[in-house]
């Protein structure tokens, strides 16, 4: 009789459904997973070490590149940590802008997740649909910051500048012309806020489209229902946060429980799952997109009615206006010191966390009084989630590994840092 041995399979690091550079060493008994050992770090860029060698403001751009599908949410935790240590007051309008962009970011992230997750387990259309809407949202990013993804828009004390009064339009080209062009520019006639408002009007209809494709789809259900079940007790033990924790039925959302910025003034609900399987986490995230849409709507309304400053007036931390810097000696000195040396933070330490689309994204910052962080630790939600991959996949079939990687919403920028 031939000897029966377990089979060891190397999955990745360049597998399309590994969501980046995950190398997974799988031990298989037939088609069943016996052991899964993720090897991470292939995208390690030493963000924490680099931050120790840069003035505080120069690391904001690195935050975008952590979880590179929810850029502004990462920046948010970072600038909040600095603001906490400086006891810096953020103007209310800036808080609303940040909340609005956090929620835009959440939709961006969930669309990316939904598209990729569906594509991984065999539904291609959703991916194309999701990217259609992502395009509009990335235009919003571009309108405020000039960059479609790595915005560097949030600054300690507020945001870089106010929302623009005009929205970029498509121009005549051999791909867009005539009626098609008019249709593309239909919602771009007014300001950015008008554009976002128009988006929030049509977005619920789009979510219905995704749900039509997936929620009652037989194949989708076969691939997700009862896959990767995590009990609430285990979810807590495994350090789950965000939709992963809520999918297991624990109602925990930092936006509600430890509100930051203006979340306590906004009306929204926290969707919670019941069984803790992949399908529940799908439902939670889809419901979250609808809630985010609600929040954006409220922010747009407030922002239209309340103009005002968008960045704190303390020129030790925020740059003076260009006009001032050219006519006022003190402003010029502030400008020079801020951009050469930066500002110093008194000796202290702080942990600030935001409800990132993937979970709790935290920054632990230690300062020794210098103009650079002494230590900056990024608490990435994906790191804890991926660590549970072995527990979640054990006993499942090899094809389910792909579903489980998808449901964890892994992005290697933040896992490897």
């Amino acid at each position: 009789m031939p000897e029966i041995r377990n089979y060891t399979l190397n999955f990745g690091p360049q597998h399309p459904s590994a969501h980046g550079v995950l190398r997974l060493v799988l031990e298989l008994d037939g088609e069943t997973i016996v052991r899964a050992d993720p090897h991470i770090g292939l995208l390690h860029r030493g963000t924490e070490k680099l931050a120790e060698f840069k003035p505080y403001n120069q690391s904001i751009g690195y935050m975008d590149r952590l979880d590179y599908v929810s850029m502004m949410a990462n920046e948010h935790a970072y600038v909040m940590a600095i603001e906490k240590m400086l006891d810096l007051e953020v103007p209310e309008r800036a808080q609303y802008i940040r909340v609005m962009f956090d929620e835009i970011t959440r939709i961006l992230n969930h669309l990316m997740w939904l598209g990729a997750h569906a594509l991984d387990i065999g539904a291609m259309t959703v991916f194309l649909y999701a990217f259609r809407e992502r395009e509009d949202l990335m235009d919003c990013y571009e309108a405020v910051s000039g960059a479609r993804m790595h915005a560097t828009y949030y600054r300690p004390g507020g945001v870089y500048r106010d929302l623009p009064e005009t929205m970029a339009k498509y121009s005549e080209s051999k791909w867009h012309s005539g009626k098609k062009l008019d249709k593309l520019n239909e919602t771009r006639e007014g300001s950015l806020l008008d554009f976002i408002e128009a988006f929030t009007e049509r977005f619920p209809g789009y979510v219905d489209e995704y749900e039509t494709l997936l929620t009652d789809n037989r194949i989708w259900k076969q691939r997700t229902v009862d896959i990767g079940i995590v009990s609430p007790e285990r979810a807590l033990q495994l350090g789950f946060t965000g939709p992963m924790l809520r999918g297991s039925g624990i109602e925990w959302d930092l936006r509600k429980k430890q509100p930051y910025e203006v979340y306590d003034k906004l009306d929204f609900d926290i969707p919670v799952g019941s069984t803790g399987d992949t399908y529940d986490r799908y439902l939670v995230r889809v419901a979250e997109m609808r809630e985010s849409n609600k929040i954006i709507k409220q922010c747009v309304k407030w922002l239209k009615e309340n103009p005002g400053p968008v960045i704190a007036d303390d020129h030790k931390v925020t740059p003076p206006s260009r006009e001032d810097a050219k006519s006022n000696m003190e402003a010029l000195i502030h400008h020079f010191k801020l951009f050469t040396e930066g500002y110093t933070i008194p000796t202290n330490e702080a942990y600030s966390a935001v409800e990132h689309p993937k979970g709790e994204f935290g920054i632990y910052m230690v300062s020794d009084g210098a103009n650079k962080p002494y230590r900056m630790k990024v608490r990435a939600p994906g790191f804890a989630h991926l660590a549970s991959l072995e527990e979640m996949t054990k006993g499942h079939m090899i094809a389910d590994v792909v579903s489980i990687i998808g449901t964890q919403d892994i992005v290697f920028g933040e896992v490897d840092r």
Binding site: G41, K49, Q237, G369, R375, R379
Partner: protein, 223 residues
């Protein structure tokens, strides 16, 4: 100062008693220090009696250069700060490297039932071979976090089932987040066409400081 944080401080002092070496509140965050010997008991009590069911984060920290600046700003000097290539690597000061309380392990705990956070620090006794007990038995997610602290700081965790490197390359030497590890690293990698394989060589670039590290007690923003 928030009342809930004060209450927590009193409660922790009651429950843990002499196990707490120090506890202080800054920016509405409570930090306690535990001795490495009975940290496991204390963590178990924190989880079971005080409701800290989640370990949010675990990380190392190296206090070697704490409070040291590149550039003296408190008194007048007749030289400015050169922006050229300048080696700031302090001479191998073995004594400083072996200073007590150089490394710390920082735990961030979250209680979902009480909606409160806590920061715990444990300073390993030895600096040569910094070792603390693993908390995997208390919070399963500590596994990877401890591997990361081992990888980046060389802190060892007793009773950890699988203390391998996690973020750095296969075959990496050194612990990159230690303060005596240069930003440029020690080796660089390239493809050698003659040998037909990737080779590692000592780094050819020098450490460069564009913006000096400055400590200004007088110029901290108005707080």
């Amino acid at each position: 100062m928030k009342q809930s944080v004060l209450d927590l401080q009193n409660k922790i002092n009651d429950v843990l008693g002499g196990r707490v070496v120090s506890s202080n509140i800054a920016l509405d965050e409570l930090t306690i220090e535990l001795k490495p010997d009975d940290a496991i008991d204390a963590f178990t009590m924190l989880r079971d009696d005080l409701g800290f069911e989640q370990l949010i984060d675990l990380c190392g920290i190296d206090y070697l250069d704490f409070g040291q600046a590149n550039w003296e700003t408190m008194k007048a000097a007749n030289t400015g700060f050169s922006r050229g290539v300048f080696d700031f690597a302090v001479e191998e000061d073995e004594e400083a490297k072996n200073q007590e309380r150089r490394f710390a392990v920082v735990y961030h705990l979250l209680s979902i039932q009480n909606n409160i956070r806590l920061r715990v620090k444990v300073f390993p006794e030895s600096t040569q071979l910094p070792t603390v007990d693993s908390v995997i038995q208390i919070w399963s997610c500590a596994n990877w976090f401890e591997r990361e602290a081992f990888d980046l700081f060389g802190i060892l965790f007793n009773n950890h089932p699988d203390l391998r490197r996690i973020l750095t390359d296969y075959g990496f030497v050194g612990h990159p987040l230690r303060k005596d590890f240069p930003l440029t690293g020690h080796v660089e990698m390239r493809y050698d066409a003659e040998k037909g394989r990737v080779v590692y060589e000592p780094v050819s670039i020098e450490n460069r400081v564009n913006v000096p590290r400055v400590i200004r007690e007088d110029a901290s923003p108005k707080v």
